[in-house]
């Protein structure tokens, strides 16, 4: 059956990458529901000089800016969604990113604890809206649209708690030096990506990213009231700070301990060389950047013995890209298509210059988009990034004497793990039964810290209209 999505009813960032260089994310609190409803109505239609909420509908001319909006559970409540209705939403969304349960699930502990978050994000009850503004590359447009929005916040019953800027680094690199934004799931029914990067993975059911469509489990996610269900989604908004100096120091120290060069260790912990080439296709050296047609077109398990990497000898099973999308590797549960996420993140802060060390905050900011925070964002983080027990026992072409995948992973994700030095661990696999020849590095610390977060609901356009009218209907 062909899945037909009404793109004009879907917020654009869910299904489209905007391919822009600048972003500003406003964290807002609702102080007057009726006025906030009127402000929202203006955004939906782009009236009163406001930018229009961007949909996934195809545009003939690229807009000068893109705007999307997400609501936290307290935000929906402030607009009049009842407690009984909120109880039908995804559980982590109900609890919120600052809840101790969610924080523990995703490793937001210690310095990453919500109590330490910036920009008012530590007080989840007051965080109601995440309003996103993206601009191609003209800072003047960013500032002009920002000014228009800010002049409307107070009359619109909104208080700005903070704003968080992001900007693309050259060639889609992130502060740790890796090329990013390569892999995204192919969503059934979504518009085709303009920059085609084919992969050797099954398309993912629409219902994994939009409520109201069949998901990978042959069910359909829905919420109450029904006006908010179809074409809506959820996202984890995250601000994660990257300590480049600490990461460089980790690479230098542990490359020597592991007996490899720095760039090889950088590639092993990520699964890709810093130029984006995957270890599966370029196992020995980064080489020239592969074309888009090849750079994401690989799997980990193959009937062809020359291509099979069940044991993670080329791309470690505990590497970042393999943990976050095990592709066709054997994992407990079902398979990776049941837990995919769309990533819409961009760096913030100036590029780090090792010749002029500084402590200016820098990192990544943006959305992880999914139809179930519990089964996608939190599942991936908790089960795959913060644990190693998800890997099934599996042997490769060499049989059990060559090793078993189960023994070739340890610890947590080097990037997203908590990585307490008391038990942090990363395995570089080698041929040999039960991992007997593996190299395991231990004792390192986390180099990425969570600085903020919010779980938001991304309503459909018709859902936004419902919310805009709700305060008046509810007599608020």
């Amino acid at each position: 059956m062909v899945t037909v999505i009404n793109y004009a009813d879907v917020q654009g960032t869910i299904l489209r990458g905007y391919r822009v260089d600048l972003a500003r994310h406003f964290i807002l609190s609702i102080t007057n529901a009726a006025k906030a409803g009127a402000f929202l109505a203006s955004l939906i239609d782009g009236t009163n000089g406001f930018p229009r909420i961007t949909t996934a509908h195809r545009w003939t001319e690229k807009p000068e800016c893109f705007v999307n909006i997400g609501f936290t559970a307290p935000g929906l409540a402030a607009l009049g969604i009842t407690e009984q209705q909120l109880a039908t939403f995804d559980k982590p969304f109900q609890l919120g990113a600052t809840s101790t349960t969610s924080a523990a699930n995703v490793g937001d502990i210690g310095d990453s604890s919500p109590e330490n978050w910036i920009g008012g994000l530590s007080n989840g009850a007051k965080v109601h809206i995440v309003l996103n503004l993206w601009v191609d590359d003209d800072p003047q447009i960013l500032e002009a649209v920002t000014l228009r929005l800010r002049t409307a916040f107070a009359p619109g019953g909104l208080t700005e708690l903070s704003a968080h800027d992001a900007h693309a680094l050259p060639d889609n690199h992130v502060h740790f030096g890796y090329r990013d934004n390569i892999a995204q799931p192919t969503v059934i029914g979504a518009p085709p990506r303009k920059r085609k990067i084919p992969d050797d993975q099954p398309p993912v059911a629409t219902g994994e990213f939009l409520l109201g469509y069949p998901n990978q489990g042959n069910g359909t996610y829905s919420v109450q009231p029904p006006e908010l269900s179809k074409n809506s989604s959820y996202a984890a908004f995250r601000i994660i700070e990257q300590d480049v100096a600490a990461f460089d120091a980790f690479l230098a120290e542990y490359a020597e301990k592991a007996g490899v060069d720095v760039e090889t260790l950088a590639a092993k912990v990520c699964g890709r060389w810093r130029n984006g080439n995957p270890l599966e296709l370029q196992p020995d050296a980064p080489g020239e950047p592969l074309p888009n047609s090849q750079i994401n077109n690989f799997t980990y398990v193959s009937p062809d013995a020359t291509k099979d990497d069940t044991l993670g000898l080329r791309c470690p099973i505990g590497s970042h890209i393999r943990r976050n999308n095990p592709r066709n590797a054997a994992i407990t549960g079902t398979d990776s298509t049941h837990h995919r996420i769309v990533r819409r993140a961009m760096p913030y802060g100036p590029a780090y210059d090792p010749a002029k060390p500084d402590s200016i905050p820098r990192g990544l900011i943006g959305y992880f988009i999914n139809a179930s925070i519990s089964n996608q964002f939190e599942f991936i983080t908790e089960q795959w990034n913060l644990d190693s027990k998800f890997v099934k026992a599996a042997t490769g072409p060499g049989g059990k004497e060559a090793g078993n995948a189960f023994f070739n992973i340890s610890g947590e994700d080097v990037f997203l793990g908590v990585n307490d030095p008391a038990d942090s661990s990363f395995t570089l696999a080698a041929l040999g039964a039960k991992g007997k020849n593996n190299t395991v590095i231990t004792g390192f610390s986390r180099t990425i810290t969570t600085r903020g977060g919010a779980y938001v609901f991304l309503p459909s356009i018709s859902g936004l209209r419902y919310l805009a009218a709700l305060p008046n209907q509810a007599g608020m």
Partner: protein, 149 residues
Amino acid sequence: MASPLTLILPIIPGTTLPTISAALATYGPQLTAALSSIGTVHYARTLFLDRSAPNLQPGASPSDSYVIAIITEFDLSFDKYIQDFVAQVGPVFDALLQFVVGGAAITPVANNVAAFEAFITANDASQHPPNTGLFQAYTFTVQEILANG
């Protein structure tokens, strides 16, 4: 370190054991394949009991007091992996729940995952005192045992 699940569910009065057995038998091969594929379940079995019988054992005569129990020991978290279970054995649970008191409200489970999870929590005796204990002769996971085999 495995966790126990002891799901005890009252059967709708008027349902016969052959009816339930026949329905579940249809899904036997699918269930076996699914539990193997999920890779976290050590053992699983079902029990039929009759609350009206002195020794709880179902007899030849029909009863309106049947109970079905699903008993397993499994690795990791059932709640966290519930979508994976639903994806693989959702139709089996749907077939069973049609005979269970309160089951109709949460089927198909694929569309009611949160309610299904809450139903499991409420009816899993192992999550409620005094039935939370479990003796374990070993701490290996299913995959660890298979990898060492």
